[in-house]
């Protein structure tokens, strides 16, 4: 299991379009990917979960990844969150 804290790059947080892209990205990996912000933990492969998380205040997100491709998954998700979208 891997865990890493990242600071969201976009000042708008996780908008629906980026949220959908994040979910699609997460879906490419076999690993379980969870995101935690404040007290809420959600499945990164769930659009509803990601949108719910996006609604919470705070710009720091903890990524938790567990599975056979956890290194690649962590790198991809962290890069997505740390890069300004559009």
């Amino acid at each position: 299991m891997k865990e890493r804290a990242v600071v969201l790059a976009s000042k708008h947080g996780l908008h629906a379009r980026p949220a959908a892209e994040l979910v699609r990205l997460a879906g490419r990996f076999k690993s379980d990917i969870k995101l935690t912000k404040d007290d809420i933990t959600v499945d990164a492969k769930s659009i509803m979960g990601v949108m719910m998380l996006a609604a919470e205040c705070g710009s720091e997100v903890v990524i938790t990844v567990e599975g056979s491709d956890e290194d690649e998954a962590m790198a991809a998700v962290a890069e997505f969150l740390e890069t300004e979208s559009e």
Binding site: A16, R17, V42, I47, M48, G49, M51, A55
Partner: protein, 594 residues
């Protein structure tokens, strides 16, 4: 204005009177048409079936959205269609699907209730955020929820049928699609937070002859689900938490109103002939075919406006030629030998069908709507014209084009009509080859070029709602500026006069089918201006006829001439009200208690 609080204890919200009458009943607060779902525990043996029906609803809704998406790709391109990707993802979402199934299995909740609970958990968090963009996404999620619920409940409960018998529908805002799907339900009244006298909720309420008040601002916030309320559509009030004295007052008003309506019906079939012998046609506007019966039972002498939008906005698919033909033929045969004026579809503005809305327009009412929309979709227009022409074989039909602002549009549309006729001839179908073609006069431009239009078409019908809106630059649905919407504004009266004069000069038939035609206060004025026909919601047909029968054409002409010389709309209104109180005291008393 009657002071309800002087009669007894009550809370009163003031709005805009949209459809007269009084109804006392239980409030059903609509959450943008999200069906009402009650918590119920399901028997253990039903769990599998419940899960299955949920999965089926997901599959069907997915197909529905994929269809909408591919329609959007075709018309507007891939980029716009991506809006639906988030929708489709929600339908596949593990949190939604697994969360709901888990609730059904573990807590034995019905699929509908389990879904609202699951979704509510997410939307509750999202609604609290300050991010406006995300708050708007809640609307998308609720839209998906609504689509799923309609499928789930539709199969089991026939949507709203299992609700209380008599409900007064309270909504923030009612769109045409909402009112169309509510038609057969037991809705006894409407009250909405937004909207003006000519918003769709208001027009529909008058068609259905149920009392309505619009523009209440906060009704859906202060009224509790199931609370007993009074909708006073005559004065534009919503009364709640009232005592016996207020209730007694309203029961008495309700009785008087009903008595007055009954009296009018006695003479409903007598023609509208003035005391000096001039006959006027009084016809009815209908939105859906079911209303024909109500129109005929109120003594309407034909259908002056058959709106066809319902065919296009209520279903999932664009109606086929045969489906349209059946709908038009049904109305035409029922009304025959009287005439039905069928208006080609007036999509755009705030109404779009399964073909989907285009990218948002900054000014939809100045944009792609009416004839502009139809001419840009010639195959759709051709299909509708073929259907209307085929219906013309079964009675008297006139075809009318909406939103005309130039001669080019009329000429282009005439070519499409010709093409439709040729196709039908080639197929050997029957139709009336001389079916009259007319235009709506609803833009100031059309009124100004009425003479030129008279050369091109057989008849006019004045759509006063839009004509007023465009002439005065007032959004009729915006309750902040609705007070500026004034049918008696001198600019409006002069456009009316110009239109009628052009029609007279070229011996063209001219009707009026807007709200103004159904306002008893306007009747003398319109008759005096010299229109041939007044077409209105069915409920007021007897009243308009009775007003025409009790006046002389000579007098009405003097009234119109005098009104045309006045400088402001309020001056005209005061003048007409004064005449009205003297000439029609019984209507004044029931309709306009001031």
């Amino acid at each position: 204005m009657v002071d309800i609080k002087a009669i007894g204890q009550a809370e009163v919200l003031e709005g805009i009177p949209a459809s007269p009458g009084i109804v006392i009943g239980r409030a059903f607060v609509l959450d943008t048409m999200r069906p009402h779902v009650e918590e119920e525990e399901i028997p253990a043996e039903h769990i599998d079936a419940e899960v299955e029906s949920f999965e089926r609803a997901i599959a069907e809704t997915t197909r529905e959205l994929e269809r909408l998406r591919s329609g959007l790709v075709e018309s507007l391109g891939e980029e716009q269609a991506r809006i639906f990707d988030a929708h489709l993802m929600i339908l596949k979402d593990s949190m939604v699907v697994n969360g709901t199934i888990q609730r059904i299995r573990d807590e034995r909740q019905s699929a509908a209730f389990a879904l609202t609970e699951t979704i509510g958990r997410v939307t509750n968090v999202m609604e609290r955020t300050e991010d406006e963009y995300l708050r708007e996404r809640v609307f998308d999620i609720k839209d998906i929820e609504r689509r799923l619920l309609l499928r789930l409940l539709g199969r089991k409960h026939k949507t709203l049928h299992h609700l209380d018998d008599d409900v007064i529908v309270l909504a923030h805002e009612l769109a045409a699609t909402h009112t169309a799907s509510m038609h057969e339900e037991r809705v006894t009244g409407f009250a909405t937070d937004l909207g003006g006298r000519t918003s769709h909720a208001a027009i529909m309420a008058r068609s259905l002859q149920i009392p309505a008040v619009v523009g209440l601002h906060e009704a859906t916030e202060v009224i509790r689900q199931g609370e007993t309320i009074i909708v006073d559509g005559t004065l534009g009030l919503l009364v709640y938490r009232y005592d016996q004295a207020v209730l007694d007052y309203y029961l008495e008003r309700k009785r008087k109103h009903e008595e007055f309506e009954r009296d009018l019906l006695v003479d409903k079939d007598a023609p509208a002939v003035t005391v000096d012998g001039r006959r006027f046609e009084v016809a009815a506007n209908i939105e859906i075919p079911d209303e024909v019966r109500s129109a005929m039972s109120h003594g309407a002498e034909g259908i002056g406006l058959f709106r066809t939008e319902y065919l296009f906005i209520t279903g999932d698919e664009i109606p086929t030629e045969d489906e349209q033909y059946e709908a038009y033929r049904g109305v035409v045969s029922l009304v025959s030998p009287a005439t039905v004026v069928v208006r080609t579809v007036d999509l755009g503005g705030d109404k779009f069908g399964p073909m989907g809305a285009p990218e948002p327009e900054a000014n939809p009412f100045l944009g792609w709507r009416g004839i502009r929309y139809s001419l840009s979709q010639p195959r759709l227009l051709l299909r509708q014209l073929r259907a209307i022409l085929r219906a013309s074989a079964h009675g008297n039909v006139k075809i009318m084009l909406p939103m005309i602002s130039s001669l080019h549009e009329v000429r282009d549309a005439k070519q499409v009509v010709e093409a439709a006729k040729q196709e039908l001839r080639a197929r050997g179908e029957e139709f009336d080859a001389d079916v009259p073609l007319g235009v709506m006069i609803e833009t100031p431009a059309a009124a100004m070029i009425a003479e030129e239009l008279a050369h091109e078409v057989d008849f006019f019908s004045i759509g006063s709602n839009d004509l007023v809106q465009y002439a005065l630059a007032v959004d009729r649905g915006n309750d902040r500026v609705a007070y500026l919407y004034d049918t008696f504004h001198p600019a409006v009266l002069r456009l009316l006069e110009r239109t009628v004069r052009a029609a007279r000069k070229h011996r063209r038939w001219v009707g009026i089918c807007g709200e103004m035609a159904g306002d008893p206060l306007s009747t003398l004025l319109l008759v005096g201006l010299g229109v041939d026909e007044l077409s209105t919601v069915p409920a007021v047909v007897p009243e308009i006829k009775s007003i025409i029968r009790s006046t002389s054409y000579a007098y009405a002409r003097r009234v119109a001439a005098k009104a045309l010389k006045m400088k402001t709309g309020s001056e005209v209104r005061r003048y007409l009200e004064q005449i009205f109180r003297v000439k029609f005291p019984e209507i004044s008393e029931t309709e306009m208690i001031t």
